[in-house]
């Protein structure tokens, strides 16, 4: 029967993260790996969902009000004019919006540029649609975009660029200059930008999230995807969307209908309440996540890390292992689970090896095994517990005991 598997299914291998998850579970480790909160969703939004169920909003549904509110938001935040009747497709999470967006524009052999390191799921969608992922590495330690690397990655087959900002796993927020560079390439090569903006409301210090769609000549060639999940701590509700010019939005909607038909109805209703949250909600969100970020940085510094890149957004910290640590990322994570009872994600799974036509030396890829991703979307209690565990790692002289 093995031969019955599709060629795509055969290329997927079991995840090393799975192995680590099992180890973490066995050791009852504190989870700073998973990218979802362990604190509650806002009560009024939960109540809205409860009311929706009670008021019989339980059949297939498209809640146009979500589109109306999103159009208002996009106008207020980014100055974009979006037609709520034609430019928005509601989907089961940003995951489905992205999958549908890829299916809507990618034909066999189309190349899609991705910035490396990058969230795992994008390439799977692209492959399913027959596209070819091409990775453009961001340069450590600050994950800067090298315009040369970007421009040399475009070919006549390049159809789209995927832009995730604020960025998982690094916490980078692409600067306006970087957005301009990407935009210029898209315009010149007549390409589409597909964005993943799920962390759009989680930015720190003075950093503001800008969508590439707001740059000149970009709205007509950008598909924005995002969701409620991270903004409202309801990752399990599966309410997301794609915003695009009408023809693409229509195609995305049609594909979505064939993939799932409808996003969960009561949660669409609750989305109306969520999206009309007062400005104060979003301010508080930022402030709270920022203090968690700061706490996390202190935590890691206390066990020998020297964080060179402070996250500007998202709820992830991508930290390079201490210079004197000889372990690989996977080995370090295992040790951390065993010795400190804390689990994080080894970074190499986010990197995708060679890019462009240059033959890279081993040296330039060493860094791919030197990072860990820490999620700080956790309650105070969890973070403090982690701090305590880390504290126990320190020996009498104040140096980390973690066998490295």
């Amino acid at each position: 029967m093995e031969e019955k598997l599709s060629s795509v299914a055969k290329t997927f291998t079991p995840s090393p993260i799975q192995e680590l998850s099992h180890l973490a579970q066995r050791c009852n480790a504190i989870n700073l790996a998973e990218g979802f909160p362990d604190f509650s969703a806002p009560p009024c939004i939960k109540q809205a969902a409860v009311s929706a169920i009670n008021n019989d909003f339980n059949q297939y549904r498209h809640v146009q009000g979500i589109c109306d509110q999103l159009a208002l938001k996009m106008n207020k935040m980014h100055g974009l004019n979006i037609d709520p009747l034609t430019d928005i497709a509601i989907c089961c999470g940003q995951t489905e919006a992205f999958a549908a967006a890829v299916f809507s524009i990618i034909d066999k052999g189309d190349e899609v540029l991705l910035f490396d390191p990058c969230y795992e799921t994008y390439q799977g969608c692209i492959a399913m649609a027959g596209g070819i992922p091409v990775y453009v590495p961001l340069d450590p330690p600050h994950w800067t975009l090298d315009p040369e690397k970007l421009m040399s990655s475009f070919t006549s087959r390049t159809k789209a660029v995927v832009l995730n900002s604020p960025h998982n796993p690094t916490g980078k927020v692409f600067s306006r200059e970087e957005l301009e560079v990407i935009a210029e390439c898209c315009r010149r090569w007549d390409c589409v930008a597909i964005t993943d903006e799920v962390y759009e409301y989680i930015t720190f210090d003075e950093q503001k999230h800008e969508t590439i769609a707001s740059l000149p000549g970009m709205q007509e060639r950008t598909i924005i995807t995002s969701s409620l999940s991270k903004t409202f701590s309801i990752t399990g509700w599966r309410i997301g969307w794609a915003i695009a010019p009408a023809s693409a939005a229509s195609a995305i909607r049609n594909i979505h209908v064939k993939i799932t038909d409808s996003a969960p109805a009561p949660f669409q209703e609750a989305a109306l309440t969520a999206l009309s949250s007062p400005t104060k909600y979003f301010e508080t969100l930022r402030i709270e996540y920022q203090s968690k970020r700061d706490f996390c940085m202190k935590l890691l510094n206390s066990v020998g890390f020297r964080i060179q890149f402070k996250p500007q957004g998202s709820f992830f910290l991508f930290a390079e292992l201490p210079k004197d640590c000889l372990l690989s990322d996977v080995e370090y994570v295992k040790e951390l689970i065993k010795q400190a009872g804390v689990v994080v994600v080894p970074g190499h799974g986010f990197f995708h090896g060679k890019s462009g036509s240059d033959q890279p030396s081993d040296e330039s890829f060493r860094h791919q095994k030197r990072y860990i991703r820490v999620a700080f979307c956790k309650s105070e209690a969890t973070l403090c517990a982690a701090a305590q565990k880390f504290g126990e790692l320190m020996n009498a002289k104040g140096s980390p005991k973690l066998h490295c």
């Binding site: 029967m1 019955k4 598997l5 599709s6 795509v8 299914a9 979802f36 362990d38 509650s40 969703a41 969902a49 169920i53 009670n54 909003f57 339980n58 059949q59 297939y60 498209h62 146009q64 034609t86 089961c92 995951t95 489905e96 999958a99 524009i105 034909d107 066999k108 052999g109 799921t121 799977g124 399913m128 649609a129 027959g130 596209g131 992922p133 210029e184 007549d190 000149p216 000549g217 060639r221 990752t235 399990g236 509700w237 599966r238 010019p245 009408a246 023809s247 693409a248 229509s250 195609a251 909607r253 049609n254 209908v257 064939k258 993939i259 799932t260 038909d261 409808s262 109805a265 009561p266």
Partner: protein, 448 residues
């Protein structure tokens, strides 16, 4: 390194008129008034000026060209009909979802789950308790013992189970056999997977499987066969004999079977039989189902696929890229729902049978030729006694002049000619609605 799928543009694609279209049973028809611009799906012919950094105008093509596979997605006849229906205040017996709500005990379970904080990502292939409940239910229904963690995948509705099965298990160029008329997501997702579709038409009055045609269609080149039983739109239920014949052909030719069984609890005239329970079939079958029809909660999007581990693997891969995880609180509620006592299912059947009786008798009295429907909440009828030239014309007439909505079935066929005499009515509506619709038809629909 990930090998890329070789997507061949399907030269065996269905004709223009029959290319995938939005499902009539989807929310976009009757729950909102939408202004559908008849945008062509490619915008390549429009040009406009863009200023570059140094101010030189540059003529560019409008870039957002939609993938070739979707070239034929256009505003559908259903959308036009739905707007017509709202405009004329028609009674809706077209939509495939209830106008009454699900049981309180299930809704309360969802509410409790939300309050208990079960609002974050569920395990990708399903909340463990729910997978366990599904395995238990499957054992009760089929007698088969399965591993809930290795053989059950939870999806956003059966629609996603179908999409994940096609995309996870079908290679471009693979031959897949479909029975027409068919639920339209089958054709769409098969074309997304690049499959070669071979279609076998079921014909009135009993929509029996034409065995000889099937025997000549199936071969060692066939990758899979897709079966929906109880069947939308005809209400046909595949008999044990038909399933046995199909099973032996599948075993002989090493063919996979994809079973869509969402209406299995709405089996009225005979017992529902799961292909997976036939000898030698479990190892090559993906059995798909959902909560929506059984519990009148179609908007919750809780579905599942049950298959042996080597097939589940492919389904899960595709699922993880399509939606990643399924709505968490609803899974908890679904766990409660599946443990409903037998009396719930018996009452469900009784209620639907009463509704069916009202509609079927009414349709016969009005003058339709009504074909026997053994299961689902649909019935198809021959509309030709009323003198309209085809099913679409009849449905338009029915909305405008009579004030009732039905579905033209031609859109469920590869060749629309095969369906032009048939329309589909649903009886998943409260009794008053059904009676009113029948009254309107008695009053205003006259035989020619």
């Amino acid at each position: 390194m990930l090998r890329t799928l070789c997507f061949k543009s399907s030269t065996s694609a269905p004709t223009f008129l029959n290319f995938p279209r939005a499902s009539f049973d989807s929310p976009f028809f009757f729950s909102s008034i939408r202004r559908f611009n008849n945008h062509p799906s490619t915008m390549s012919t429009q040009k406009h000026t863009v200023s570059t950094h140094d101010g030189t105008p540059q003529i560019t093509q409008q870039p957002l060209q939609v993938a070739k596979r979707l070239e034929k997605f256009k505003t559908t006849i259903f959308t036009q009909m739905s707007m017509l229906a709202i405009k004329h205040g028609a009674i809706n017996l077209g939509q495939g979802f209830p106008n009454f709500d699900g049981p309180d005990f299930v809704k309360e379970a969802a509410i409790q789950a939300i309050k208990d904080g079960k609002n974050q990502y569920a395990r990708g292939y399903g909340v463990p308790d729910f997978n366990n409940a599904l395995a238990a239910r499957f054992k009760k229904d089929t007698g088969l013992v399965i591993d809930p963690d290795k053989e059950v995948t939870v999806t956003s509705g059966c629609t996603e189970a179908i999409a994940a099965t096609m995309l996870g298990l079908i290679n471009p160029g693979d031959e897949v056999i479909l029975f027409a008329p068919f639920y339209d997501s089958y054709e769409a997702t098969l074309s997304m997977a690049g499959a070669k579709i071979k279609c076998i038409t079921l014909r009135p009055p009993d929509f029996a499987v034409p065995i000889d045609e099937l025997k000549s269609a199936i071969s060692k080149n066939t990758r899979a066969i897709l079966i929906n039983t109880p069947h939308n739109p005809t209400g046909k239920m595949f008999t044990r004999e038909e399933l046995n014949t199909i099973a032996s052909l599948c075993i002989e030719n090493d063919v996979l079977v994809f079973m869509d069984e969402v209406y299995d609890k709405l089996a009225f005239e005979m017992d529902h039989i799961s292909m997976a329970s036939l000898p030698g079939m479990y190892e090559r079958t993906v059995t798909m189902n959902s909560l929506g029809k059984t519990f009148s909660l179609t908007g919750w999007k809780i579905g599942w696929a049950i298959a042996p581990p080597h097939l589940t693997w492919g389904v899960r891969q595709a699922h993880s890229f399509l939606t990643f995880a399924t709505s968490t609180p609803m899974q908890w509620a679904a766990t409660v729902a599946l443990r409903a006592p037998d009396s719930y299912f018996e009452e469900l059947k009784r209620d639907y049978m009463a509704k069916k009786a009202i509609l079927v008798q009414g349709l016969k009295d009005v003058g339709f030729k009504v074909f026997p429907s053994s299961g689902t909440y649909f019935v198809v009828v021959d509309h030709t006694p009323f003198g309209l030239e085809n099913d679409i014309a009849f449905c338009e007439y029915l909305i405008k002049e009579v004030g009732v909505v039905a579905i033209p079935t031609s859109v469920f066929y590869l060749n629309p000619e095969d369906g032009k005499n048939l329309v589909r009515f649903t009886f998943c509506k409260d009794e008053e609605t059904l009676r009113s619709a029948v009254e309107r038809m008695k009053e205003k629909l006259k035989k020619k």
